[in-house]
């Protein structure tokens, strides 16, 4: 059982959902990013997803895309992220997960990345454009370095395919709440319940719900069907408005 799984289980056992904020690395500036990371860490984050910016984030909505481009303009690279996290290793209570498109990892070198990321204290990776069929090699390397490759599933993922993911799934399962990109949903579609039920049957690791989440009451209908919640666009928007991550994190206490 990876540290990510453990962390979520602990929260669930404490009668709450694990809290997983997402923040683009180097957003809004290289310095402020670490301030906000700190705020997230000391205000209830169980796991923090750090976005690795990419020029062509085809699975993201406008908020994350804009944050990503802004970070790139400021010279944020995967190497910078790994180096800065290495410097700060051990400072964070939350588990750290990197989330980014495959190409920057590919250019970094899968082997080198896995080693450096493990050294930096990263325990998981989410790659939205690396579906099951393409993930074999990278996943194996990551596993060798103790990094979990998180599976993403959506409303159109058949149970049979969930099973294929489940065979090798680690950490937690990222359930995409609707058919779309990050940050968009106003209401979750009715099929979501079925997806969560099936996922619960298939996977023996926790389920995290993400995409379009702004506030706790959105989760009420799901009860125990989910174990963790991921929020990104709404958080970024709030940080942009208020200059701090604290108020947004307060909502989830």
């Amino acid at each position: 059982m990876t540290s990510l799984t453990t962390r979520i289980n602990t929260a669930v056992q404490a009668g709450r959902k694990a809290i997983i904020p997402f923040l683009t690395a180097g957003f809004p500036t290289k310095n402020d990013f670490f301030t906000h990371l700190e705020e997230l860490d000391s205000n209830g984050a169980d796991i923090i997803e750090i976005g690795v910016p990419f020029s062509d984030p085809a699975a993201d909505g406008p908020v994350v895309e804009a944050a990503s481009l802004k970070a790139l303009e400021q010279g944020v690279t995967l190497q910078w992220i790994v180096e800065e996290l290495t410097k700060r290793k051990g400072q964070y209570q939350a588990e750290l997960v990197l989330m980014g498109y495959i190409n920057p990892f590919y250019q970094y070198g899968f082997e080198k990345f896995a080693k450096d990321a493990a050294d930096a204290g990263v325990s998981g990776l989410i790659v939205p454009d690396l579906p099951l069929d393409e993930s074999g090699e990278f996943k194996k390397i990551l596993k060798q370095h103790g990094i979990a490759l998180i599976s993403l599933i959506g409303l159109n993922t058949p149970k049979k395919r969930m099973q294929e993911y489940a065979d090798n799934a680690e950490g937690y399962v990222y359930v995409v709440s609707y058919m779309g990109t990050t940050g968009a949903a106003v209401a979750f579609p009715p099929e979501l319940k079925k997806t969560l039920t099936e996922a619960r049957e298939v996977f023996n690791i926790p389920l995290a719900l993400g995409f379009g989440i702004k506030e706790p009451k959105q989760l009420e209908p799901f009860g125990d069907a989910i174990d963790a919640v991921v929020f990104g666009s709404a958080l970024i928007t709030d940080i942009e408005e208020k200059g701090t991550a604290v108020p947004f994190m307060e909502r989830w206490k």
Partner: protein
């Protein structure tokens, strides 16, 4: 891992949410496309709607200058003015067989958008076209054509506001609308099965050209040359000759303004391997894997990636990839227009330019085919900025 791969290139690097529609399309490619009924319907459209077969035109004046025979495969004469219609009609027909009601696509120069909007009308489907805001601006002629054809054109304001961003946006939209919409990918790139599907529908170009050159000259050509943007016109004509080992296949990329380090659209000549838009291929990118902006005077070549089968043909050496810059292209545009009365698209002018600039590489008296992928009417505004060329 070899499904959808050409050697080490290709694949299906997309969000999990796009796997189901891609699988649906793989099924259709395997089961519907080869069926006699589909093939008949498709070739009826190509013949009676598109106007195929397209001729193979000998260029008497240029051939005399060059010392060898230059033939043009005339995709410029297709309905809507380029090779794009072959692919989109095939895909639109397939989408109809799959029960889809609408087409979505991306476009750079607008040719694929016009072709898709047209195919949608021919098959009575809806159509939505994503186009970078910069391209909307500079290709207003084609935007107007799409609108007249009843398509919805969505300007994309993200990123570099060009083709690659339009593809991102189209992929995003497809996630949402996969139940009703077919993503009519415009070139032989993107996630599997698009590179294969598009080659399949463009292969008519190569089949015709091979038959025609043999009829006309009694032999296979020395070389077959095509411009390479995403790579659909090139793969279409190459596919007819790829098994003929004696035939040189030459893909011409866009070198942009051409000086060392300039912004270009030549990922095979100047790029490195990477992953974008669902495929592992050659890309223009920085050391961190960020995609670099591309440039070419020919809007349709302005893309920082290339279809994976070209990356493979390049890697294994079956095809040669070269590059030609903007000024060489303009000179070729003028040369062909003035010598033969055929105004080529600036994309196609790249392929012509390679021949004109490298005539010593071709033996005297040999036969060379250039794929004339489109007509140049759309490029008049651009060409006319270089008045010094035309006096």
């Amino acid at each position: 891992m070899s499904k959808g791969y050409f050697g080490e290139f290709g694949g299906q690097f997309v969000a999990e949410l796009l796997i189901p529609p891609l699988k649906e399309l793989e099924d259709a490619l395997e089961n519907i496309v080869p069926s006699e009924a589909f093939q008949k319907e498709f070739s009826d459209y190509l013949k009676n709607y598109v106007g195929r077969e397209s001729p193979l035109t000998h260029c008497p004046t240029l051939s005399t200058d060059l010392g060898f025979n230059l033939y043009l495969k005339r995709e410029d004469l297709n309905h809507t003015g380029s090779h794009k219609i072959n692919n989109v009609l095939g895909q639109a027909l397939l989408a109809k067989h799959m029960g889809k009601k609408a087409l979505l696509t991306e476009t750079g120069a607008g040719m694929n958008g016009v072709a898709t909007a047209t195919a949608a009308r021919a098959l009575d489907m809806d159509c939505i076209v994503f186009m970078g805001a910069v391209d909307v601006e500079r290709q207003s002629h084609n935007v107007r054509r799409m609108k007249l054809l009843g398509a919805t054109v969505v300007p994309v304001e993200a990123g570099s506001k060009t083709l690659k961003d339009a593809i991102n946006e189209a992929l995003r939209f497809w996630i949402k609308k996969q139940a009703t919409h077919h993503y009519c990918f415009g070139t032989a790139a993107g996630p599997h099965p698009f590179p294969t599907l598009v080659r399949e529908f463009q292969s008519v170009v190569g089949k015709e050209a091979r038959k025609q050159i043999i009829e006309r000259t009694g032999a296979l050509p020395h070389s077959v040359i095509a411009c390479v943007g995403g790579g659909s016109n090139a793969i279409g004509i190459f596919s007819g000759f790829v098994d003929d080992c004696s035939v040189n296949l030459i893909g011409v990329e866009a070198a942009g303004t051409g000086e060392e380090g300039c912004t270009n659209s030549a990922p095979l000549c100047l790029g490195t391997a990477g992953i974008l838009h669902g495929q592992k291929t050659m890309l223009l990118q920085d050391a961190d894997g960020q995609i670099m902006p591309s440039h070419s005077i020919a809007g349709g070549l302005d893309y920082p990636g290339v279809g994976p089968e070209h990356a493979h043909l390049h890697h294994c050496g079956r095809a040669e990839y070269v590059k030609v810059n903007d000024m060489q292209t303009l000179h070729a545009f003028k040369a062909l227009t003035r010598a033969e009365g055929i105004m080529p698209a600036l994309e196609s002018s790249h392929a012509v330019a390679y021949v004109l600039e490298n005539k010593d590489k071709f033996p005297k008296g040999c036969n060379v085919i250039v794929n004339l992928s489109g007509r140049g009417d759309k490029d008049m505004d651009i060409v006319e900025q270089y008045t010094e060329l035309f006096d």
